[in-house]
Structure formats: C-alpha cells, structure tokens
Amino acid sequence: MTTTAKPIRNPCNLCQSARAILKRPKTGQQLCKDCFYHVFETEIHNTIVDNKLFRRGDRVAIGASGGKDSTVLAYVLKLLNDRYSYGLDLVLLSIDEGITGYRDDSLETVKRNRDQYQIPLLIVSYKDLYGWSMDDIVKEIGRKNNCTFCGVFRRQALDRGAIMLNVDHIVTGHNADDIAETVLMNILRGDLPRLQRCTSIITNDTSEDASGIETSKILRSKPFKYTYEKEIVMYAYFKKLDYFSTECIYSPNAYRGYARVFLKDLEALYTMRLYFV
C-alpha cells in the first residue's frame, strides 16, 4: 500500500481535491459533484433572497408536470426551505390536460415525487374545470394550434388550482433557456407587452384570466430564471431524481420547437447568449 496521492484528473476549480464532472455553461468553470450541487443550490437560494420572492409563512404551489424542471424545482425548494428555514408551506399542483399516453404517465411521476419529497399534491383536470379534455378537443377540432389553446387553458387551470389550495404564490420551473425561447418567440410575433413581461422573475397579473375569478393576490415566479437547462438536467442525472421525459403527442409542430432548435444552434456559437438575451 502506498499513501501517495495520485494526481487528480481535471481537478475541481473550487475544492481542487476531487475530479470535475461538469463544465458550467455560464462561466466555463469546471466543478466536482459536491461543489456543483453546492453552487447550483446556492445560486437558486440567492435568486430567491435577492428578489425577495417569498415571505415567511407563505403557502407556495409548485407547478409540477413530472418533467425535469419542475421535478428539480420541487426537490431544491424543499431542500432550501429546510436548509435556510424559509418557513414555506409547499404544495405540488399538477394539471391533467387529459392527454392519454402522455399526461397520465407523467402524473404517475408527480405522485412518486409527492411520496419521495413528502409534499402534498393536488391534480386539477381540464375535464373537471372545462368539461373537455385535450383529447376531446383534438378529436373535435383536429391537430392545429393545439399547444396555443392548451397553454391558455393550463395557465388558467393553474390559477384555479391555486385558489382551491388557497396559496399565496405559484412557482414554475421555467429556466433561462425557456425564457430565452419565449423572448425570441415574442420578438418574432411582435408581441411587445408580453416581451416585456416574460422576462420578469415575478409577476402579478390577471389580464389573461377570462374566468373573472379574483386571482390578483396570487404571485407567480420563476426561481430558475438564471439557471441553465444543462445544469438542471445534470443535477437531476447525478442526484438520480425521478422525472418523466417524453414529448407531448400533440406538440411536434409547436412554434416553440423551432425557436428552440434555432437557439440551441446559436448556443454552439455564442456560449453566453442567454445572458445577452
């Protein structure tokens, strides 16, 4: 036996004592697993504190789809709430659009997350709220603009669910890449009011709620506004978080898909593009 330490391959830029496993898209810094977890979680904590997203005692609904972003958001918010004693009362809120072969499977993931993270869950369905599931709607109108309708319904369903849960705040897993896509889409569509609003980390806005229900007290925010998709996926992978990853069966022609591929291609050219946007 020899006790001589072997030189570490690609040592972590922070601790210098473990092998780096990730090159950060934001900074190019190379980090080991533990330093990555610490930096990732602390940046989200700083975003929450610097932007004063929550007040002690707030009841907060996490919009949960079972996908990578909302799964990581639920995990990290639970962890930070315990670590820094935010005093938040967390609940999971899922929308069942009624899409067979997609949402039914992803909701099973959310139910497992509920048990794994010990956060209560409410599922609100289009069928119950509106009398129509997405499957019913597509059967009736065919495959066109489905995502546009579905997005409007989902936003309102989240508000209705939030009222049922009596929460102060809804958080969603939108990340820096999503927001950049939305900015691009709003530029392409020339939608100036949305262009301004979509980059806010926190909004309080009822103009789109046609239901006339009073939701003005409920805040919405995006704690992952400055978090890159690559890091969310790497965090979920290394932490072995249980998330659902299948594309919605109605989405292949969605406008967002084109904006997304365009930005991913740009990314290869300009590493810092998300910050420029």
Partner: protein, 110 residues
Amino acid sequence: MTMSESLAIELQFSGGMELLFDNKKTIHTKVPAHFRQGADSHAVTIRDLIGWMASHLLKERPELFIGPDGSVRSGILVLVNGADWELEGELEYELQDGDEIVFISTLHGG
C-alpha cells in the same frame, strides 16, 4: 488490417434519448478500435462512435441524434465515464476499452 480489434463500450441513454434506441437504457456493444480515413487509420474517437451509432444502432430518425456536423444534435448532453465530455475533449476524445458513455436529451418536456 486490424478490423478484428474492437473495444467494449457501455452506452447509456436517458432524458428521453432511449426512445431512439429501442427504449433501451443500456447497450453493451463492441466498437472497432480503429477507423479509416482515406489511406490512414486512427484510434476510434467519440466522433467516430456517434457516426457508428447512427448507422448501426439507430432504427429511425437519425437526425434526432446526429447533426449535420457529425456531432450529437444540440441539446444532447454527453458524459464520458461519469464526466461532462466538454472536460474530456468532446468529439476528439479517444475511446478506451470499458468506457461508459452516457447520452442525455435535454429537449424533452419540462
């Protein structure tokens, strides 16, 4: 010719990537240790592996995996033996016998 020489490689797929590969999470395979380029031959790199996978393992829609530049499509993360391939030379990394290569799609769902 050294075509009989091959490397044992473990391929893993997640984040929806497995949907392109028969829904398999793991594939143990043998990859030629050398690839020819004109008159020369060189040790197999990840670039060669990606092209080889596209022609040998992919059943359909290779454009969802491989880009026009011969790399993986943007939005797919690659890990070499547990580390981000950006730390390992990316496309130019030379495969070693027993390597574990992970492909993770970031494009699916939210």
